[in-house]
């Protein structure tokens, strides 16, 4: 268990970023960004994990049982919301770009050279 989540997080990040760099389609780019973002979820949750512990909900647990770190889960929750909302905004931008130019290929969108 030990290093696998971290390796996974690194892999997701790199794959996602690679996708963003080489993307030929704006929507694909946004999705690659999502993949890269999910690396942060994995990393955070991996950090919070304690072996042998259970979910931090005490509705049916006696107090004092070891639980995984709830703070990290709260952070991931925030992270997910942020990622999703930014992706939505980016997709809105992509839609507008398409409407304005009929193009979604970053290579073809070069209004800003120099």
């Amino acid at each position: 268990m030990s290093h696998l989540p971290y390796a996974l997080a690194a892999w997701l990040l790199l794959v996602g970023l690679y996708g963003v760099v080489t993307s030929r389609h704006l929507v694909h780019l946004v999705l690659c960004l999502s993949v890269a973002q999910s690396s942060t979820y994995v990393l955070l949750l991996a950090i919070g994990y304690r072996s042998g512990a259970t979910a931090p909900v005490f509705a049916d647990l006696p107090l004092g049982r070891p639980v995984v770190d709830p703070v990290v889960q709260a952070l991931v929750l925030t992270d997910v919301v942020v990622s999703v909302t930014v992706s939505a905004l980016l997709l809105a931008l992509a839609v507008d770009v398409f409407e304005g130019s009929g193009e979604l290929d970053p290579d073809a969108l070069d209004t800003m050279r120099g």
């Binding site: 990040l13 970023l17 963003v20 760099v21 080489t22 993307s23 704006l26 780019l29 960004l33 890269a36 973002q37 690396s39 942060t40 990393l43 955070l44 950090i47 703070v71 990290v72 952070l75 925030t78 992270d79 942020v82 990622s83 909302t85 930014v86 905004l89 980016l90 931008l93 992509a94 507008d96 770009v97 304005g100 130019s101 970053p106 290579d107 969108l109 070069d110 209004t111 800003m112 050279r113 120099g114």
Partner: protein
Amino acid sequence: MNVLVPLTVAIPLLAAAATAAVGRLVPPAVLDVVAIAVPAATAVLTGILLVDSRRGTIVYWFGGWRPRHGHTVGIAFTVDPIGAGLALFAAVLVAAVSIYTWHYFDETVPLYHALVLVFLGAMTGFSLTGDLFDLFVFFELMGVAAYALTALARTQLAPLQGGFVFAVTNTIAGFLVLIGIALLYGRTGSLNLAQISRSLVAQPPDGLLVVAFALLAAGFLVKAAAVPFHFWLADAYAVAPSPVCALFSAVMSDLGLYALARVYWTVFSGPFGATGSAVRGILLGFACLTMLVGGAMAFLQRHLKRMLAFVTISRGGLFLAGIALLTARGLAGASIAVVGDGFVKAALFLGVGVIARTLRSGDELRLRGRGRALPVVAVTFALGGLVVAGLPPFAGFLGTSLVEESARAVGVGLPVSVVANVSAALAGGAILRATGRVFLGLGPPEDPLFSPEADRTERDELRGTGRIASRAMLGTTAALLAAGLAVGFAPGLRARTEQAAMRLEGRTAYARTVLARAPNRQPAAAPSHVELSSVVDGLVATGGALLLAAASLRRRRATAGSLRRWTWPLRLLHSGHVGDYVAWLVAGTATLGLLVAVAAR
């Protein structure tokens, strides 16, 4: 606890929510008043906090969650003079820009005001927080509001592209920061800066800390637009509406640098203390590169806003240099320059807005000679160019001189001085050249140094026939310029800013204040005065700027042609392609990481 602290963020956010909810039901005039009153009120609050925090850093725990048994649980705001000063600066600028936009846009939708208010709340929170994850949340909040505001002129392609590039690069920056935070949390179990600071003090800089630092630094440097993380800024600031650009340029970019300074000093200065000079060298390298690339590219632009965007990048390099020196004096110099330059940059962008509104263009060549009817803007540009070039005794010079002095004290005086003054000459020269061409009609009508670009101005800003610039617009432009000029004359500025800088850098005192509620001892600043060599440098740089501007306006075709060939590779790099920018981002982060790793061995 000081009740005002949470209000600085709560009030703008509450106003934003209310505006969005009922904005359509109230007359537009009410919204305009709210848009001005709320930032003004926030400015008052932050001003009070600034004065209060001089006596001692104010600590505020949200929800009443104070640390127990020496362990932090809740979120803290730690208000010290530099943070409060930045928040105040942000609020003042938003208020001024809101007055400006009274007549600027043809119609403002309630959602625009809501986004600006959210942006203000985020900037304030960012400057005042003492919690790493909270920093991240406000980083993202600032970003999201900014992305939407950039692409406001959505009927055109360029603003959308600018917004897209901005959003992609800054989002990636955001989660680089988040990964850094996650690593630090994993190591120390806390998100509170003071607590992390204490936990890490004695540790050697091992692999995890190196990676965390590289990621956090890279993320903040993207926001600050240091080279090679800067590409997005030129694209975004060239197409956002001018009043929005004013806000971005004057405050938002500098907040990235503030975060870098804050996080470095509280978290990393302990473990990295021994490798301090290596870290200094690395960051200075990025700073010098930024100053030069920014200055050079500024000089090559014919589009006024894009030119100012590169000026912003170049000045940002100067601020980064001040921070990179890792001294109180350097940080003080950067702070003074941030405020002084910030007012001036804002005034310049607002001036460009006036030009766009009345003359319906943003292109230097097309505007040649047509600016004679706008004396206020002409003066703004002329004085602005001089201040940016470093004319004594204004704030740009003052900041640069402090940075130079500090550089000399740590042995890198010559390279820093040369780069700072050359880049100031380039940046100031670009502005002065534009002044000459637009307002005085100097220079040839065609200039081969510029590439033959299409006019990229945003038509939404230019709707309608050329209008007379309203008094509000001219008034705020002039007022901001005046503020920028006045900053250099504030009494005791050097000493007080240096004291504030020492406070920010005082890691152990910070931790003690936050965790143990011990009062701050005020460190005394070493007495200092402006050195003659700095004055000479400032005058030389200003002279250089004027010379460059004049030379550029008189140039013969042959030299222009060869210059164009030399600068062509640099321009090619700024391709407008988001994938390229992200590739540079990754490369820059990796380089930073490798350099720090080598240094820390």
